[in-house]
């Protein structure tokens, strides 16, 4: 959200209003010049119009429609999928009572996946952006490798994890050999598998913002830290990490938000009992049970919960640069 706000600040609208704000009065420029300037500043508003219209049409209106649907009621004796407009707030209590576990689980899975992606993504970003600075070719190759998973489909990549974690697969074999997994232990259809899938699928969203941030890191500050008696670890903790917080914030949000609403990983890599995520519930409410109000209410709850969590998070860890 705050990211968007910053972009807007740099956009053509801000620029245009800045120019328009210039007082008239004794302007030495000719009327023609001023007219041209006005037209140009009005151009700014025209330029943001498509984006504005898009957001209105595909975000604001659907949200209101969703809100309305979530309050619909089912008239007695109605067919499957038949609802009437109403203000039935009980829908929220019903779905929360029934699915609070799935909701909490989704956030728990997303949190673990986000932390895992951070632990994997930060070192990768650091390696490419700082350690390999100046070695353009190597940097380019590694960046392509980071993005490469995007070149195959999401479903396919997730299916591949089934093979990797299969009972006869290499991971299980190794874990059994070192006794981290009992002889009859499995990884397929477990929470572990779902979190693996989430971590893997959203890793680039973590790595790239951190990379973009660390790429601009002035390494002379790291040298200054070392010069002032900070060990390499202390320098990282007191200089590098705080300076890269905007990247970490962006990365964690871009990972956590889609991960908590994801249902493909849980559907393909999980089971039917203890790995169900809220996305799956919404999906089945909408398209299988055809409970539009229930599905809408759940979607709305998910949205608000994410919003609340994000605000808390940004308040706690957010830096001035991001806000």
């Amino acid at each position: 959200m705050s990211l968007l706000a910053r972009n807007r600040g740099n956009g053509p609208a801000a620029d245009a209003s800045g120019k328009a704000a210039r007082p008239g009065g004794k302007d030495p420029r000719s009327a023609g010049e001023i007219g041209a300037e006005r037209r140009r500043s009005r151009m700014g508003y025209w330029l943001i119009l498509p984006g504005f219209a898009f957001m209105l049409l595909f975000f604001v209106l659907p949200v209101f429609s969703l809100l309305a649907t979530s309050l619909y009621a089912k008239p007695p004796g109605a067919d499957v999928g038949q609802f009437v407009p109403a203000l039935q707030f009980g829908n929220y209590a019903d779905v929360l009572g029934a699915y609070w576990q799935e909701l909490l689980r989704s956030f728990a899975f997303a949190l673990v996946a986000t932390v895992a992606a951070l632990l994997i993504g930060y070192p990768m970003a650091y390696l490419v952006a700082v350690r390999l600075r100046g070695r353009k070719l190597l940097q380019g190759i590694l960046l392509v490798l980071i993005i490469a998973p995007f070149f195959t489909s999401f479903i396919l990549r997730t299916q591949a994890w089934k093979q990797i974690l299969a009972d006869e697969g290499p991971v299980v074999a190794v874990l059994r050999a070192v006794a981290l997994l009992p002889e009859d232990g499995r990884l397929t259809a477990t929470a572990f598998a779902v979190v693996c899938g989430l971590t893997y699928n959203f890793l680039p969203f973590m790595t790239l913002p951190i990379y973009a941030n660390l790429e601009r890191l002035d390494t002379r500050l790291i040298e200054a830290g070392t010069d002032l008696y900070a060990s390499p670890f202390q320098t990282f903790r007191t200089v590098t990490l705080p300076l890269s917080m905007p990247g970490v914030m962006a990365g964690t949000l871009l990972t956590f938000i889609p991960a908590s609403g994801d249902y493909i990983n849980a559907a393909l890599l999980g089971n039917n009992q203890d790995t169900t995520m809220i996305g799956q519930v919404i999906d089945s409410r909408f398209f299988r049970v055809v409970d539009y109000p229930g599905a809408s209410a759940l979607s709305f709850v998910l949205m608000l919960a994410i919003l609340a969590l994000v605000i808390l998070y940004v308040r706690r860890f957010g830096t001035k640069e991001l806000l």
């Binding site: 040298e223 070392t226 008696y229 060990s231 390499p232 200089v239």
Partner: protein
Amino acid sequence: MVQERLAEETTTAAGRDSGGADLVLDSVTKRFADFVAVDDLNLTIPAGSFFALLGPSGCGKTTTLRMVAGLEQPTSGTLSIGGRDITRTGAHERPVNTVFQNYALFPHMSVLDNVAFGLKRRKIRGAEARAKSALELVELGHLAARRPGQLSGGQQQRVALARAIVNRPAVLLLDEPLGALDMKLRRQMQVELKNIQLEVGLTFVHVTHDQEEAMTMADTVAVMNAGRVEQMGAPRELYELPRTAFVANFLGKSNLVPGEVIEDRGDAVVVNARGNRLTVLKERAAAHHGRVLVGIRPEKLKMMWPQDAAGDPDNMLHGRVADTSFTGVSTDYLVDVPGVGRLGVFSQNHGQQLARPGDEVVLCWDTAHAFGLDGREDSSAGAAEAAEAAAP
């Protein structure tokens, strides 16, 4: 008062930590691939001195400092402080602090936190209080809560200085610390920096390409060129008796007249420069026979009208004024001496009649002011570098 207290603490600390802690570089060489940035450097920097490393851009000054700080490993050679070999010691374990060329202040910390950074890493008690008094020392106590980005260049420079000084390192390294400041602030900071050094009594190694800066501030100046030290000594000594053409031209201006030694007078040699007899004292000459360069500074030349020039025809050159530039306090002349070349003359304004272009003049000087250099040297070495260094 605060300043006195800090100075006091510092003197005792320096006495304890770094008593007689000379910095010694022993045959230090640094290669980047095939390029030799620092070439077999030998330096001894006495504890408590203000030492300047002076040289044109690219001569290896920063690389030398970085090796002392531990940010760069020498390809060969050793470094030691107070007799302790620090060649393999990590940068964060060396009793050395740097004021970086671009200051490198931490943008995410307040000015006070920047200054307290080094003390906190070493878990020194009362870090904040000490940082505060260091900020007072550089007269920035009132800006402690600001971020570096909210300060002017001159203020940032002082914060960088306070951040380094507060740790009372055995050696303080300053890499062109005044380079980014405008001329006026620069001259002012030169005086302040020198005063602070006297006050805290630390060893300062100051890198600069500005010869005036090096001369006004340092006790000892080492003139560097292409990775080597050309000459080292007190500013006055370097100026009055340069030993190489590079030093003669880079540090102030010099007229270098080529000639051949034709006579040995015991304590002096006589040089024939296109028929002119020039005398150079042996103790002021780098070579005593064969081809030599006779050097004489523009302000040491006396310019006379031909009718006034009488007596000893030695150390006398006849020429014609080619150009004059009057600056008020003085006049700079360019005088063409047939067969010898164009010489610069700096003439103080005593109210005398000024020569005009085309006038016939005679140049003479006191033998004690001339110096002799090896005749195989390029007489213009260092002149272009000096002009570049002087450009803003």
